[in-house]
Symmetry: C2
Subunit: 372 residues, 2 copies
């Protein structure tokens, strides 16, 4: 018997199982605790930052069937903080207990090729792309593309990892070698005017709501900052929300879903191109912690626990900036800024590019925040 869905709302005192123990798992556990739900974190890393704020911990790998089953039996629902949970682990867990977001969302988001085909089939725009399984595929694709492009592994890429910028003069064999001959996609580089994302929450089929859209700035493939309001025209804003809700509907979704878009200047009107989606809480939604009464983490927990969704209303303008690697050493100075809310993830060890915290500048609605 597969307990495919929750029969009712989980009472306070119930336990949310969370696969993954990074900063997203940590902030999910904190959100659960705030509304009287316990969190059980499952993570292979004994130093996982989520452990210290959760009521129960399992240190085990995602192929440890016994540990997964024991974990599933000890919780009332399972969710995850990242989309690269092996499907076998998700399946094993969901034999015992409901899993939200569902397997379909997980499966599609794990493969860039499948994801792009899925989005396109919904009538939404994606960048031109070619599946790549060999250096020959790549050579052909580069010719067809005839423009700067990005080679991205189909699986396990994040924060710019598993990506390579190419142009027509690039050597296909060398490039394919560089990504370890992994199944990939070649993606035509979009010359975009800006990047935005929709962070939405879907509860029961009739309950869906979007947070205000942030304008996102990436540096070296890693999110640098997210600013709300985004400054995009209202019509485009609504188009993006409609596109994201279309994806959620097609996935029969439950939880927080983040959809990233490029905004491309066109002769007639700006055009939206879907970059990718993430079936989880998202870095571009961290500003909701300090600018909304119900943040993305609490709303994700509410959704997977079958609770009424919280309001996505924004009480302040906000700009979230990630603190990567040694930037976190500026904590004392940042803590002095009266309009900065500081978040540190309690990770031991500073590595370049590692997400160790973030800061949110908040200001009254309508007061100007500079996008840097």
């Amino acid at each position: 018997m597969t307990p495919s869905s929750l029969a009712a709302s989980l009472n306070p005192g119930s336990t949310i199982g969370i696969l993954g123990g990074g900063q997203l798992g940590r902030m999910l556990a904190q959100a659960a605790a705030r509304i009287g739900l316990h969190a059980h974190i499952y993570c292979p890393n004994p130093e996982a930052p989520a452990f210290e704020v959760a009521s129960a911990q399992t240190i085990a790998t995602f192929d440890d069937r016994e540990a997964l089953q024991k974990f599933a039996r000890s919780v009332d629902v399972v969710t995850f903080e990242f989309e690269n949970i092996p499907l076998e682990a998700a399946d094993l867990v969901s034999e015992q207990v409901p899993l939200y977001p569902n397997r379909k969302a997980l499966e599609i988001s794990q493969d860039r090729g499948v994801e792009k085909a899925f989005i396109k089939q919904l009538g939404l725009n994606v960048a031109d792309w070619w599946p790549i399984d060999s250096a020959d595929d790549l050579a052909n694709a580069l010719t067809q593309c005839a423009a700067p492009a990005l080679l991205k592994t189909r699986r396990l890429g994040y924060d710019g990892k598993g990506q390579l910028a190419l142009d027509q003069n690039s050597d296909p064999a060398q490039a394919f070698e560089h990504i370890d001959h992994q199944p990939s996609v070649l993606e035509k580089k979009i010359s975009f005017e800006r990047e935005i994302s929709v962070v939405l929450v879907q509860g029961s089929p009739n309950q869906i709501d979007c947070y205000d859209l942030p304008c996102n700035l990436h540096k070296n493939g890693i999110l640098h900052s997210s600013t709300v309001p985004s400054g995009v025209p209202e019509k485009l804003d609504q188009q993006a929300k409609d596109a994201a809700m279309k994806i959620a509907a097609a996935l029969d979704y439950r939880g927080i879903l983040a959809v990233e878009f490029f905004v491309k200047e066109d002769e007639n009107a700006p055009q939206l191109i879907v970059n990718e989606f993430a079936p989880r809480v998202h870095n571009s939604g961290h500003w909701t912690l300090d600018a909304c009464s119900c943040n993305q983490f609490e709303n994700h927990i509410r959704a997977v626990a079958g609770w009424p969704l919280g309001a996505t209303t924004r009480h302040s303008d906000a700009q979230m900036t990630n603190l990567l690697g040694a930037q976190v050493l500026d904590w004392f100075e940042l803590a002095q800024h009266p309009d900065v809310v500081l978040h540190l993830y309690g990770k031991a060890g500073i590595k370049a590019g590692r997400k160790l915290g973030h800061m949110t500048k908040i200001s009254p609605i309508g007061a100007k925040i500079q996008t840097n």
Copy 2:
């Protein structure tokens, strides 16, 4: 050697020791984690709600010298969530590690008689009062008072416990019997127009800041709700802040300090009467969690860790209402209100009058919140 004060700011990754593991300790631990500090909770109650959100736990009584010493050695600074920590425990701990707020604040706040004398000596108003050590003392005091009065134990009273309302017709022997012959004070009942409190944070001697004052409503001796803005005239507001800062200065204070006042209508101008102070985070400051960028819990942690204080600025109007006993069963309905932020403390077992959570209604500044 007594490490009387912190030599420097504690780096992220340091550990804050917290004596007491109720909801205040829980919210302190959550605030510490958010800024990358670990929390070690010391509490005799194995079911303490703070344990599940802290990185370390000690279950031991406050007279367990060995456990206290071990705890003190494992942390970088110690604070407490309630003022009835035995002084012997505080002293033992502070032999090893700085303790904030200091012993003086703890000692004075533990005895209503000492507290009132201390406040009066600072030139601030307190209600007329008489020390009571016997039924005869009480008989005399009732005659002198010649008005409705409250008999309160000098020690260990909270949330209306250890209190008895009396008038001239009350039987002194019976009343003193009722409070188990404990050393007490008789306090002339103030017919006040309203109750307000100042929640201030003091860091280093030059760093002090007050949150906006809430107007507080008590029911059956327990805080029912706190509303900001309070509606008191600006002059009175400033007088209350000045009085609270005077108390902080006299205590050589560090951390959050809460001072409760009665506002009494007078022929000429409203008069402020200090009810009591609490050397800790305070129920009347819970609204700061949802209406300020740096809430009272984070500011307490910042102060005791030697960090720069966070801004006490308020981005929203707020009304906090406690959820006592069975009121918490309304969680589902409350979770549906778009302007309500819900906080549940994860306590097992519903007892009448027990603080199991609170809710904060927030609204844009200037939009009217009804005080009920």
